[in-house]
């Protein structure tokens, strides 16, 4: 520890700390622009100059390491003069356009100029003009003359997002922040550059000129998009969500949020909102009062249960529903005598259900990821499924942790990988088995009998070695591993790998309530999310799902809904498919409009309040379900608040949920290679993943939202005999369609990658399995 005195205050800091770190410890504020605690030090804005005893000139606080006995003065005459001098230079070329600048009111330069700037400029010459750039639908670079070249955005790309998309071209007074030849910024974390920009050079395109920062009220919320439980500030003006910003929580999202979390709010204000309950009368949907609609639903469900038995009713919820909604939905369904309730619409293999010891979870806390020495991710399109989780692994890999990936898609995770295995979906269990076998062989111990014939290759040995090194290790199962037709085998193999190597096993988790759904008991005792469509039911209750996009086999789900006599949808949005199939549409609150709880992958229980009112007649879904329960005369639907519902499920909760365990008993490994000439790989594109992002206009204009193509390697194309064709007809079990071919040699041989969750591919069939491709 080193002694340091700042402005007369003594403190101790660890060796290697900078004056800036020490100043933050004692609470002394040093003005700065380029310094950011999460980014590397560049010391190019010079705003943080301070006086150091015995130093002949002012030193930048962000880049000066503390030495023992150092005395620092942050507000001495020398320091303040230096800071004022730097400010004068920064303002030379900065336009005086604060009144029309989107950053006005929340601008670091504006704030500091008040403290350190002169009231009049001495510089009379022309200011420099920097032309605007178009970098896509999310970030506006319309007024680049405002840039003060702090390079935070550049360093963010290099260090946090993992891809350098912005750079500083040219030299000295000609320097400009730009992309390479006018390309777009496509990173899934790009929106953070807007927050990082200390001036109004990078601003939010969707938010531009919509509101002033002081007109907005900041309200706390949690992101419903992925299993991380990202903390948000939702900013509201006139009962309308205007903007979403990160709420710093070092243990969860640090100070970042993904673009999906940031821009999905646009969907809340879209024209697709369902505003009134609707009931199908004589073949067409009519708007009715809540009492009429709820009566209709209660009677309808009771009728179906009476005439066809309780199990003729099936309930399916989106994994981004709140804990309270999932709990009341399963309670209602069970009250009707049905055990057919689920919240995992994209899952295919349910063999581990009821065989699990506890609720599946991440296996460790998010904050422990940085302490890992090795991590293996199985079956995940990391960046697109879990942008911020991927970011944590990226930082781990930068810091010498070994990260390996076993997956079926060739996407670049922008992580410095220790090893990578990319195989066809049907081979994924074998690839994992090979690593298990390699670990067993290296340790010289026995493993599962079923792995007798598995032969590890060099890559699996390399992964095995990384897992056998000393320290903390983890095996993470991604969304693809959960959606896989052999998900239970993958789960058991991962547990075996954990047992042999001492690694923690965890699920990254699909959906904001991937753990919460299990705690809420929204699990089937008869008829899971797939079977409820294989054997069509008489009545369906759907909560926040769009089956034609969200289910493992959308075509099958749609067909089952068509034949049902009663389809009740609780949904914030309406779509053509809903208007065609639903018998009752009940408008419910969307994200930000309802109070509720999310239990994230790490088991963190986060309850949020509704931050604005629901539009039209929409009501929070937990209230709708509660009233339905009462109308049906079921007991236990008398909760006064969502907190009361929550306390019924998890007691009066602490920070983390209990009962989390990934162990599974009595499920055997089944390694059977299905023979397929060509098999489908389905990814769920980041901006098609749930009903909210699908309606966020700006996100829909990004490169990640282009219509699905048939991604296939040149080798596979050649073996199929498809040449000189830009279009292909793909035929799968339930249907066929014509897609354009995108040659991508990273896709494994014998596979074609066709994204799910999009209307253009929903007729095809299961997310994985045999598929045919022919010239169109």
């Amino acid at each position: 520890m080193l002694e340091i005195e700042i402005d007369g205050k003594q403190t101790q800091v660890p060796a290697g700390s900078t004056i800036m770190d020490a100043a933050q410890l004692v609470g002394a504020y040093i003005p700065h622009f380029c310094y950011h605690k999460k980014l590397s030090i560049s010391a190019n804005c010079r705003m943080c100059l301070v006086q150091v005893e015995k130093a002949p000139k002012p030193l930048p606080a962000c880049a000066t390491p503390v030495t023992n006995g150092m005395k620092v003065f942050t507000h001495s005459e020398l320091a303040v003069n230096a800071q004022k001098g730097v400010m004068e230079f920064l303002l030379i070329n900065h336009p005086l356009d604060c009144p029309i600048c989107d950053q006005g009111g929340e601008c670091q330069l504006q704030d500091l100029a008040v403290g350190y700037g002169g009231s009049e400029a001495r510089y009379r010459e022309d200011k420099r003009v920097v032309f605007q750039k178009n970098v896509g639908p999310l970030i506006s670079m319309q007024e680049m003359s405002r840039c003060i070249h702090c390079t935070r955005c550049v360093r963010f790309g290099q260090e946090i997002a993992g891809v350098m998309e912005l750079g500083m071209a040219n030299r000295n007074m000609h320097s400009e922040i730009q992309t390479f030849v006018g390309r777009t910024v496509d990173s899934e974390l790009s929106g953070n550059m807007i927050d990082l920009c200390p001036v109004g050079a990078l601003t939010s395109k969707p938010f531009r000129y919509k509101a002033r920062s002081w007109e907005l009220s900041r309200r706390k919320s949690v992101s419903p998009h992925d299993s991380l439980g990202t903390n948000l500030y939702v900013q509201v003006k006139n009962n309308r969500v205007m903007r979403v910003l990160p709420r710093e929580n070092e243990d969860v999202n640090e100070c970042w949020i993904s673009d999906r979390d940031r821009f999905s709010y646009e969907a809340l204000n879209c024209s697709d909102r369902l505003l009134k309950p609707m009931v199908r009368v004589d073949g067409s949907l009519r708007e009715v009062d809540w009492s009429v609609a709820l009566d209709y639903v209660a009677h309808g469900l009771k009728d179906v249960a009476r005439t066809h038995g309780g199990n003729a009713i099936a309930s399916l919820a989106s994994p981004s529903s709140t804990l309270e909604e999932l709990y009341l939905l399963q309670k209602l369904t069970r009250g009707l005598g049905s055990g057919c309730v689920d919240f995992r619409p994209r899952r295919r293999d349910f063999a581990t259900d009821a065989k699990m010891v506890g609720a599946p979870w991440l296996g460790l806390r998010l904050s422990e990821i940085k302490e890992l020495d090795a991590a293996v991710v199985v079956g995940s399109v990391l960046r697109k499924d879990h942008p911020l989780f991927a970011q944590r692994l990226r930082q781990l890999a930068r810091k010498s942790g070994k990260v390996s990936l076993i997956s079926v898609t060739g996407d670049d995770p922008l992580i410095n990988l220790n090893a990578r295995i990319t195989v066809a979906p049907s081979q994924l269990p074998f690839a994992l088995a090979a690593v298990v076998k390699a670990v067993a062989a290296l340790k010289g111990i026995e493993t599962l009998d079923e792995l007798e014939n598995v032969q590890p290759d060099a890559a699996s040995v390399s992964i095995a070695e990384s897992l056998l090194a000393d320290g903390k290790k983890a095996v993470f199962l991604g969304n693809l591993a959960e959606q896989h037709p052999s998900a239970s085998t993958i789960h058991v193999l991962a547990n075996e790998l954990g047992r042999l190597s001492g690694a923690v096993v965890g699920f990254i988790g699909e959906g904001a309530n991937c753990v919460g759904g299990h705690l809420a008991g929204a699990l089937p005792s008869s008829g899971n999310a797939y079977d409820m469509f294989v054997e069509p039911r008489k009545a369906y209750i759907l909560l926040g799902v769009e089956p034609e996009l969200d289910c493992h086999n959308p075509g099958m789900a749609s067909a089952a809904l068509k034949q049902a006599s009663l389809v009740v949808m609780l949904t914030p949005f309406k779509s053509q498919a809903m208007l065609d199939t639903a018998d009752v549409l009940l408008p419910v609150a969307a994200f930000t409009e309802t109070s509720g709880t999310f239990v994230s992958a790490e088991g963190r229980i986060q309850s949020v309040a509704g931050v604005c009112q629901t539009p039209g007649d929409a009501r929070p879904a937990w209230k709708v379900l509660r009233v339905l329960g009462n109308l049906l005369d079921f007991g236990g639907f008398d909760q006064e608040s969502s907190e009361a519902v929550r306390n019924e499920i998890v007691g009066n909760p602490g920070e983390f949920a209990g009962g989390l365990d990934n162990s599974v008993a009595g499920v055997s490994v089944r390694l059977e290679a299905a023979q397929m000439d060509l098999q489908r790989i389905s990814d769920v594109p980041i901006y098609f993943a749930d009903s909210l992002v699908r309606r966020a206009n700006s996100l829909q204009e990004t490169r990640d939202s282009v219509s699905p193509t048939a991604r296939v390697s040149a080798g596979t194309l050649k073996s199929l005999g498809i040449a000189d064709s830009s279009l292909t007809r793909v035929v799968q079990s339930s249907g066929e369609t014509v897609l354009s071919i995108a040659v991508d040699n990273a896709v494994p041989f014998g596979c074609v990658q066709i994204s799910a969750a999009h209307a253009s591919t929903s007729m095809l069939g299961d997310m994985f399995g045999a598929i045919k491709m022919e010239s169109a």
């Binding site: 891809v163 350098m164 998309e165 912005l166 750079g167 500083m168 071209a169 030299r171 390479f180 030849v181």
Partner: protein, 157 residues
């Protein structure tokens, strides 16, 4: 995009650095590419960036920072005149003006016959020999008064 010979030269440069720091060779690689192609088009820069496993914008930062990289086509000979202070005080600006009049072009322009391009340069570290000129990045010419310039132009055929 580049000839095998150029690629071999770039590989030689890459070998000078640790295997995981290929991008350290970016300046040399861009210079080699420019030597072969005459100038650095965006495509050339992107090719070099991909070859070194770095982001294209990172290579562009380098290419646009240093004035000896040409981001636009240049003539057969590129004449770079130093106009920094010591040269300026010793006739650097006059040398530039003389060249402009003689060739009928301004800075950053190329003669109609495609032979000469005139550039304004930064200090070349030979202020004692001012005014200083550089021919096609490789040949340094000292004390460039009008006579010496005439001789040089006659020589460059």
């Amino acid at each position: 995009m580049l000839t095998t010979e150029s690629l071999q030269r770039i590989d030689r440069e890459i070998e000078k650095y640790p295997a995981d720091q290929k991008q350290s060779a970016v300046m040399a690689a861009l210079a080699i590419a420019q030597e072969e192609r005459g100038w650095l088009s965006n495509e050339t820069i992107e090719f070099v960036a991909n070859y070194l496993g770095m982001a294209p914008i990172a290579a562009y930062e380098v290419a646009s920072f240093y004035s000896m990289y040409d981001l636009n086509p240049v003539g057969k000979y590129k004449l770079t005149v130093c106009t920094n202070l010591p040269c300026m005080l010793s006739g650097g600006v006059d040398a530039a003006e003389y060249l402009k009049a003689k060739l009928g072009i301004g800075f950053n322009e190329t003669t109609v016959d495609g032979k000469f391009t005139l550039k304004e340069g930064e200090c070349m570290g030979a202020c004692g020999d001012a005014p200083v000129m550089l021919v096609s990045n490789r040949r340094m010419c000292s004390c460039m008064g009008p006579e010496q310039i005439d001789r040089l132009l006659a020589e460059l055929e």
